[in-house]
């Protein structure tokens, strides 16, 4: 069982995410690549103009699930360091809601791990987004996370990559 590494940065924050600093921080002399994902607030959703977003989380569980993602990356990709930082509270158009950075000796592993991290975060981390429009607000549709169907049999682990 792989674990997230002490040099990883797994965080929920209500402040502006320091994207550039995080991208620098994951990078070490043995790395040849840093892949980053910058998820940012779009000014439209389903054809409506978005004014701003609000994010909330089940914080203790969200951090646990983000750490599980980092641990999975270390166990399944040849990478060095991982940063996964998600913002909470009110976010304005153009601000970063989630920033992921993965360093590795070679680019393929960095790209693949970064992609896996954001795709998995969107499906499994308990964070919710409310979209505010000029004429109202809605909770984003979202995805139903995979959960064990019954307590009687041991929970199947998600297939590894």
């Amino acid at each position: 069982m792989s674990v997230s590494q002490p040099r990883d940065r797994i965080e929920l924050t209500r402040e502006i995410i320091p994207n550039a600093a995080i991208a620098r921080e994951v990078r070490a002399d043995e790395d040849g690549a840093v892949a980053t994902f910058d998820g940012c607030v779009r000014n439209h959703s389903h054809g409506r103009s978005t004014l701003y977003l609000e994010y909330e989380a089940y914080e203790s569980m969200a951090l646990g699930k983000m750490q599980e993602i980092a641990a999975h990356l270390h166990g399944n990709f040849v990478i060095n360091r991982v940063a996964i930082v998600h913002r909470l509270g009110r976010l304005e158009i153009g601000e970063t809601s989630v920033f992921i950075a993965v360093s590795a000796a070679h680019r393929a592993a960095a790209f693949d791990a970064c992609r896996y991290a954001i795709d998995t975060l969107k499906k499994t981390v308990p964070i919710w987004k409310k979209e505010f429009f000029a004429d109202g607000a809605v909770w984003a549709d979202g995805e139903i996370p995979p959960a064990p169907a019954t307590a009687e049999t041991p929970a199947a682990k998600p297939a590894s990559n």
């Binding site: 499994t124 919710w128 984003a140 996370p145 995979p146 959960a147």
Partner: protein
């Protein structure tokens, strides 16, 4: 025994609070707890098909047995990122 129930997103708004303590019978499962919560707020029940349950910060099946002091979240579809 007493368990803590957490509500998030649209459920938090619907319930008017983010957490509550609920007294359940020994041997209760998560689905029994949900039924109890939904009995107090009928609108909650219609969300059941789209919810997943979490017990002590792990996704849990609806038939999971509860222990005193458990923290249970009824989680709407997630939309982080």
């Amino acid at each position: 025994m007493t368990v803590k129930v957490l509500y998030f997103g649209r459920l938090r708004e619907l319930c008017g609070s983010s957490e509550e303590s609920v007294e359940v019978r020994n041997g209760s499962r998560i689905e029994d707890l949900f039924a109890l919560c939904a009995a107090a707020r009928p609108e909650l029940g219609r969300f059941r098909p789209s919810l997943v349950a979490a017990r002590n910060c792990e996704f849990a099946a609806w038939d999971t047995a509860l222990s005193s002091g458990d923290e249970v979240g009824f989680l709407p579809p997630v939309s982080g990122g």
